[in-house]
Amino acid sequence: MIALGCLTALLTGRVDAMMSAVLDGVRQAVELVIGLVGMFCLWVGIERLAEEAGLVDALARLAKPVLGALFPHLGPARKPLGAVTASVLSNVLGLSSSTPLGLKAMSLMKDEVGEGDRGVDSMSTLVIINAGGFCLFPSTIIALRAALGSRVPALIAGPVAVAGLAATLGGLLAYRVLGDIFRER
């Protein structure tokens, strides 16, 4: 991306614009992280409480029949699956806790399954599910539409769910297919 960007900038004489955009971008990255610190502390703190109280284990038991198939390598370890479930559920409900819980699940998976192929497979599955953004309650868009005077702000919830499901399934399928191609290299 940097190569393409620099090349375009040189060819079109927009080097100055590009430079200031890059400096802007790195500042935005820092602002974004600082802005997220509070939310991360809150949600990972709540997750820790739920973990110690046994709620995460319970969640994992409930979700095992559904999500267990997608995460075959997590095995008997309940903690990672519970955290994965919490994150995916947050995503489906359109809650802000999705990302903090997702990263927590990533670190649990790394601890329990490691960084080998199996670990990376489990982590990739979670990333694809959350990047696909299957969401039944797209609160941000509904709020935006309502604020701009829509008479049916939630009309798009159904289509958004269909599209999100397609993005998630398409991504998971692509990951499987690409796996064979990447391994041959």
């Binding site: 991306m1 900038a9 971008g25 991360f40 990333v127 953004g133 509904i142 269909v162 692509a174 990447f182």
Partner: protein
């Protein structure tokens, strides 16, 4: 009105109150445990900073140089014949790359055409069809220090394309 559209605003306080209350009933030291978890959350998000700086630099370079506009024009030559309105093409190009950029663009389209117009509805659907792929992949893998992410990124982008296609098809059915 979609009856469950505000479910999120009930779940949030329920978790905020319910989890500590349940933990207290289970005799978990609530404050100490929460603080330990919060400290962990602090470390997790800070550890992603180098990765986010790198990807934001790359993305800004791509946008600021005008390369994104070329990508969007390239997309146009493929998608226009399929009946995708020209105004939403930049949104498709930017959606996987920048969350705030895409949201701003959706806002512009809704203001210009009206949120309940055909273009407004399509823009809303495409905005919700997928999450900001580059951001999610960077953040998640950055937090655990895994760098082999090319296959995942490619899969997610293929997934995004599926999501956009499905969103567009549903929109056509809604409009006809």
């Amino acid at each position: 009105m979609y009856p469950l559209a505000h479910l999120g605003s009930y779940v949030f306080p329920a978790l905020l109150l319910g989890v500590p209350a349940y933990a207290y009933a289970k005799r978990v030291p609530v404050y100490e445990t929460f603080v330990k978890g919060a400290e962990e959350g602090f470390k997790i998000i800070l550890s992603t900073l180098p990765y986010l700086v790198a990807i934001f630099a790359a993305i800004s370079c791509f946008r600021g140089s005008g390369a994104l506009d070329y990508l969007s024009r390239g997309l146009a030559s493929v998608l226009k014949p399929l009946g995708v309105p020209a105004d939403v093409l930049p949104l498709i190009a930017i959606r996987p790359i920048s969350g705030s950029g895409a949201l701003a663009l959706t806002g512009d389209l809704l203001r210009a055409y009206g949120p309940d117009s055909p273009v407004g509805i399509l823009a809303s659907i495409l905005q919700g069809a997928t999450d900001t792929t580059f951001y999610v992949v960077t953040l998640y893998f950055g937090s655990v220090g895994v760098r082999k992410t090319r296959r995942v990124l490619l899969s997610c982008l293929i997934g995004d394309a599926c999501g956009f296609a499905a969103g567009f098809l549903v929109w056509r059915m809604l409009m006809s």
